[in-house]
Amino acid sequence: MLQKVNKMLLMVIGAIVLYVLLKIMITIGVINPYWQRVLFYSLIVIVGALGLGIIYGFTGQFSLGHAAFVGLGAYSAGYFSKTFGQYGVLSFIGALLVGMVFAGLMGFLIGVPVLRLKSDYLGIATLGFGFIVKVALDNADKLIPDLGGARGMMGTPQLASLEWLFFIALIVIILTRNFIFSTYGRACTSVREDETAADMVGVNTFKTKLMAFIFGCTLAGLGGGLYAHTYPYICPGDFYFLQSFDYLIVVVLGGLGSMTGTVVTAIGWAFLLEGLRFVLGPQFVDFRGVIYALILIITILVRRQGIFGGKEFGFLVPQVRRGKPDVALRG
């Protein structure tokens, strides 16, 4: 018991120390505004990628439309903030909730028909959904002019600060961990491993897949909401299928079924992308695509289970405690 308290405490203290360090580095200019942007982006990617991690890494549902849900979150949250922005922090929180609920609701509506499909077919269906969202956003200004359509949307208040992004990412990590290490998380991994066997031990597999999908899409929506409040200009191209692949690459590189892998890779990913910009110079900047595709290919060849291979940092894993059995679990 003592050890358990220490573990949790350690994690929170560690996070606060990290936050203070980042804050100091930003204040004294060690992290310049440019790298600060990159840091912000990596925190947003963590939130979105953990969503895909639940859907694909833990539940085994291959989704190629994740960025579309990020986009739905970004646009709905951004639009809400533009409209009710005068209430400051309250409207910011409201906007994030709107983004989450909207993306989650769309996840539900799409999930019900497509989650009956298996692996590749599910990928194709979600890819199709991604195209639909892109085209819909491109033409959204015909219904609601403020959304800007293909020209993109501006004017969302830039309220996402380091504090917001950092602590929201932290809360998402903790909630995801709590979900994974619960009976719901175990139901998810059992569906991933063998859907038929899961069914036969009493797991309602469809409900489990749908729940995981909605949860994952809600996190995508939250990531989108943060994105809209971090960047003054968003356009439908920010949430196209290439971005869906970015999330997929983060989850696969980190290791399917590893939160640690997803978080670490999300940060590494954002910094690698920008770092390469300097290493390659302006002339060769487009070669970044070649380099990260190569990294993916090499990983799949030599370490298919991903960098963390389903493992977690110890402090994320709760201890297994035994207790007095109760008649309720019998029969």
């Binding site: 009976t183 491993e193 063998d194 031990v201 009493g202 797991v203 297994v320 207790g323 029969g331």
Partner: protein
């Protein structure tokens, strides 16, 4: 009241009649063996009882209610658990998680409890852990609780599968060739194990098996299938001398 009553069960796969007019009644506490040559339709019967294949015709009554048309997870929740001929475990998951997931329908806490780690969550999880470890201890695999199932030897995987089936909290346990790939000494251990868990958990058992040693040793009654139909039923020593059974297993002319 009989625990399980199957009447006139049949299923077509396209033009193939895989099982035809299958009748079986099992009383609480019995151990019944379902035997027959390969392809006789034994596993298909299991798949129909556990809800995986909806039968084309016939009725399945479990504890007085019809379970035809129910989904596998609903059948499991009513108290029918099974193992598989070719072990189907959650291979990347730990032994403990393989067993704990079977408590999912009775976890007794909601999503909010899980997200916020409420006292209810903690209490129920501790109970699930306790029950899961009890099962692992019963099956002698508690020391491997944190090992990924795929890294276990075959015999241990069989044990994990039985532990998982018991965690479902069944009244009726369906075992599909539990002794497949075991040597005689292991089969003997398995016989002891089945007797023991039957007693301890108050189970009724229906098992498919090819190892006659096990079948003759443990089953109180046998049902013999061939080409989708029941060709004989009765006590083990009766069935053993039944000419139809000998013919099905050994071919025509063997009975001289």
């Amino acid at each position: 009241m009989s625990l399980l009553e199957v009447k006139g069960l049949g299923i077509n796969f396209g033009g193939l009649r895989a099982v035809n007019r299958f009748d079986l009644t099992i009383e609480p506490g019995e151990i019944v063996g379902l035997i027959g040559p390969n392809g006789a339709g034994k596993t298909t019967v299991f798949n129909m009882i556990s809800g995986y294949f909806p039968p084309t015709d016939g009725t399945i009554i479990f504890k007085g209610r019809s379970i035809v048309g129910l989904k596998p997870y609903q059948v499991a929740r009513l108290g029918i658990a099974r193992t598989f001929q070719n072990i189907r475990l959650f291979r990347d998951n730990s032994v403990l998680d393989n067993v704990r997931v079977a408590f999912h329908p009775r976890a007794g806490y909601g999503l909010i409890d899980a997200f916020l780690r409420t006292p209810r969550f903690r209490a129920r999880e501790a109970e699930i852990n306790e029950r899961a470890f009890e099962l692992l201890e019963t099956l002698n695999i508690a020391d491997k609780a944190n090992t990924a199932v795929k890294n276990l030897p075959y015999g241990d995987q069989r044990r994990v599968e039985i532990a998982r089936a018991l965690a479902v909290g069944p009244e009726l346990l369906l075992l599909d060739e539990p002794a497949a790939g075991m040597n005689p000494a292991e089969v003997q251990q398995l016989v002891e194990l089945i007797r023991f868990i039957k007693q301890k958990f108050n189970l009724t058992v229906l098992l498919i098996e090819h190892q006659m040693g096990l079948v003759m040793n443990i089953c109180e009654r046998l049902v013999v299938m061939d080409f989708g139909e029941i060709i004989a039923r009765g006590l083990p020593h009766e069935v053993r001398q039944n000419p139809k059974v000998l013919e099905a297993y050994l071919g025509k002319g063997a009975v001289a």
